[in-house]
Symmetry: C2
Subunit: 193 residues, 2 copies
């Protein structure tokens, strides 16, 4: 029909994700994005409409990638105890920081940022966090100590664990010292043990 795109949109989205992840929604300027994605204004606007739409697409991608990876870990039946799966997730987040990745969680950063004034972004973040919460809920069902809880109690516990996760990753992005972060992970372990 006509001239085909010279870049892979999925690949470009992946690159955009990393730019937003590092600098946040408002902190990522258009030149930053163009640079990171390796394309020019015309192409970006033709393919992704505008900055906010691009960010929403990135959030979607993050959910079906980073969040789903977490959920997969939370329902990994090779670790029979659900509490241990939750701990694996927390330990993974801590390990990220130790290895020098202080970006935290894209959803958590967005939660503290544009969610406050943008309905659509808030909805997307809320959905992503909800997905994670459901994963935690399922994992708790596979934990002997928590499987006997009532549905409501277990749900409330899942919400709380999610809050701990958001707190941990937010504090990681704020460059809180590693000892404190490690203490958080360790205490979550004690709590769930």
């Amino acid at each position: 029909m006509a001239r085909p795109r010279s870049f892979d949109t999925d690949d470009a989205l992946e690159k955009a994700m990393h730019v937003f992840w590092e600098r946040g929604y408002e902190g990522a300027s258009l030149p930053d994005l163009l640079d990171g994605m390796g394309l020019t204004r015309g192409s970006l606007y033709k393919a992704f409409t505008d900055k906010k739409t691009l960010f929403l697409k990135v959030l979607e991608r993050y959910e079906t990638q980073a969040v789903q990876a977490g959920v997969a870990m939370l329902s990994d039946s090779t670790a029979p105890n659900g509490a241990e799966r939750i701990m694996a997730m927390f330990k993974g987040s801590y390990q990220n920081v130790v290895e020098g990745d202080a970006r935290g969680c894209l959803l958590c950063t967005a939660a503290a940022g544009p969610c406050n004034y943008d309905e659509e972004i808030a909805k997307s973040v809320s959905r992503g966090l909800g997905t994670l919460r459901d994963g935690i809920y399922v994992a708790l069902g596979a934990s002997p100590r928590h499987a006997t809880l009532s549905e409501a109690e277990r749900g409330a516990l899942a919400d709380m664990v999610l809050a701990q996760y958001v707190g941990l990753r937010t504090m990681a992005r704020a460059r809180i010292d590693h000892d404190t972060l490690h203490n958080i992970v360790r205490s979550v372990g004690v709590m769930l043990a």
Copy 2:
């Protein structure tokens, strides 16, 4: 000596705090601040140097006001049980949201925002959160169930409770539904009971 200031700097700082609290550091534009503080550029720059310095002053104020109020609550000896004091803090945060204040915590918002790239702001936020953590630690010492913990264990627990707090307030700002927030508070209560 010379012409005196026509405004109270402390009052102006208070107003600036509310602007930053609502819109965040990067989200608060200079016109926003001038408007909220009721002064003009010349006055602001003469009195507060620049935007970042103003923000650092605001953070300082927040620590010796909002954070100290929290710490006071955490060491309020009219509530003999420290765990109950901690719960009072969490319930207060939840109550804020119910009453329509979805701004969350200024420190938590800054943690997810400018802390990532600004050393000075990060240091100030870290100090503020540390103050809160110490308050939690003291309260745990006044809780029969936790006073017997080793110093290290109690410290780690304080870090974890702080993470829950950061998570709760970050999620509140993201306009997560009230039920979820309530569940978090309730589960923290169960955990500390």
